[in-house]
């Protein structure tokens, strides 16, 4: 079990980097936004992982049950906020992509670059 204790962190790093790669290496703007979503999700995983306590349960106190161990509520609160921030950014990014598609006719970054330098 010892070695598995860090597995969550490795998974978060892996997901983080997959998302990061998509953001910086892909040319398609929607793919970049998808990558950004993955990238942000990884951070959610980091926070939620650190809040877990062995043998704990979700921090909602049950009536009539004593001696319960609860996992940490604070990272969960932070991530609730961060999820909202993530979807807000995503919506804004998609709106911009729609406008780019309308005025450039493409959503590929390198083609937009070419079009900008031609004019």
């Amino acid at each position: 079990m010892e070695i598995l204790g860090l597995y969550n962190y490795w998974a978060y790093v892996a997901v983080l980097m997959i998302g990061f790669y998509a953001v910086i290496a892909k040319s398609n703007l929607i793919k970049k936004l998808i990558g950004l979503s993955i990238f942000q999700s990884a951070v959610f995983l980091l926070y939620i992982t650190m809040g877990k306590v062995d043998g704990g349960t979700a921090p909602i106190i049950q009536a009539g049950v004593s001696d319960q161990i609860f996992s940490n509520p604070l990272p969960q609160v932070l991530i609730l906020t961060a999820i909202v921030v993530g979807v807000s950014t995503l919506a804004l990014g998609l709106a911009i992509v729609v406008r780019i598609k309308e005025s450039y006719g493409t959503i590929e970054e390198d083609q937009i670059h070419l079009l900008d330098h031609k004019s």
């Binding site: 860090l6 999700s41 809040g51 704990g56 106190i61 509520p73």
Partner: protein, 330 residues
């Protein structure tokens, strides 16, 4: 044992993320993102974050997918192969991940009860919530009261996104005419020709909204609260728009009403804070709202959760309609 479940699901999660990045079809990528969100939500649930799991499912698998699909309908779904060499990006990513992995070895193990996170601040919340708020969901207590200012900021992030999407999509060739908002014909048809989904869907909408209200008002006792409720109700109303067409949905809830909901929700939240200030407390101090601090907290949390629910529901719906009502150009 359950940790092993998490290990298994996390492995699937990483594989899904790789598949999302690999595929050249954006529609497929969006479908896989739906799976990604569901997996993520399940992992959250296993890691004891019930509220977060609910939000991730409603937002990640529900709202985000719909926004992506609405955009894909306007932009096309094929990704062209990039000429960019992946080497530099790969190098940056490799270095960053090595640094992060290296750091993990000095991090506390998953579930370590002696980790610093479990020692400071958090135990205070767990201990004081029953005493100060007198309800069981500590996450709601921290979200709405102890760190209520963050949540106020979060509501304004949603408001900003709503204003932004409406603003950005109010110009350009595909924009609906500002003088007479004309809704394009293609999306307005809805799924009228699909009898079975339409009947079943319409049957379920009231239950979805009802469930949303339950999540809203039961958020102090079980997972849920304003944000999750807003997202679920918005999803229900989006279902209505899918079935009956944009035109009908906008007739029931026009954009102006939705904007009113967003503004009203945000103001409601802010006003609770201001009232607290006028009654002699600090900003967002709910204890002064009633002669008994505990019931004052409960009243304050109830009202601000309603504000959050209204704002989030209105904002997500307005954003969805702004995408769906846009004409596809070219």
């Amino acid at each position: 044992m359950v940790t092993l479940f998490a290990v298994f699901l996390l492995t699937l999660l990483v594989l899904t993320a790789i598949a999302v990045v690999q595929t050249k079809n954006l529609f497929v990528a969006v479908m896989l993102m739906g799976i990604f969100s569901l997996l993520m939500a399940t992992v959250f649930f296993i890691l004891d974050a019930a509220d977060v799991a609910l939000t991730e499912a409603a937002v990640g698998a529900g709202i985000s997918t719909m926004l992506f699909l609405a955009t894909l309908a306007l932009t096309g779904e094929h990704e062209k192969p990039s000429k960019k060499g992946p080497w530099i990006s790969g190098l940056v990513v490799a270095i960053t991940s090595l640094i992060l992995i290296d750091a993990t070895f000095e991090q506390p193990y998953l579930g370590d009860p002696m980790a610093p996170v479990q020692q400071h601040v958090a135990p205070w919340y767990l201990e004081m919530t029953p005493e100060l708020m007198d309800f069981p969901n500590v996450v709601t207590a921290v979200l709405a009261s102890f760190r209520g200012y963050d949540t106020l900021g979060e509501v304004f992030v949603v408001l900003t996104a709503c204003i932004g999407v409406l603003f950005i999509l109010s110009a350009g060739p595909g924009a609906p005419n500002p003088k007479s908002p004309r809704i394009p014909t293609a999306p307005s048809v809805g799924l009228r020709h699909h009898l079975i989904p339409r009947v079943v869907g319409k049957l379920l909408i009231p239950f979805i909204v009802l469930f949303g209200l339950y999540v809203q008002f039961h958020g102090e006792y079980s997972p849920g609260g304003g944000f999750q409720a807003g997202a679920i109700i918005a999803a229900g109303m989006i279902l209505y728009a899918l079935l009956e067409g944009e035109k009908q949905a906008l007739k029931v809830l026009p954009q102006s009403v939705l904007i009113g909901m967003v503004v009203g929700g945000a103001m409601l939240y802010g006003m609770v804070g201001v009232v607290g200030m006028l009654m002699g407390g600090n900003f967002l101090d709910y204890s002064v709202l009633s002669s008994n601090p505990v019931s004052g907290q409960q009243i304050g949390i109830l009202i601000i959760e309603i504000g959050v629910g209204l704002a989030v529901c209105g904002a997500l719906l307005a954003i969805f309609h702004a995408f769906a009502a846009r004409r596809s150009v070219g």
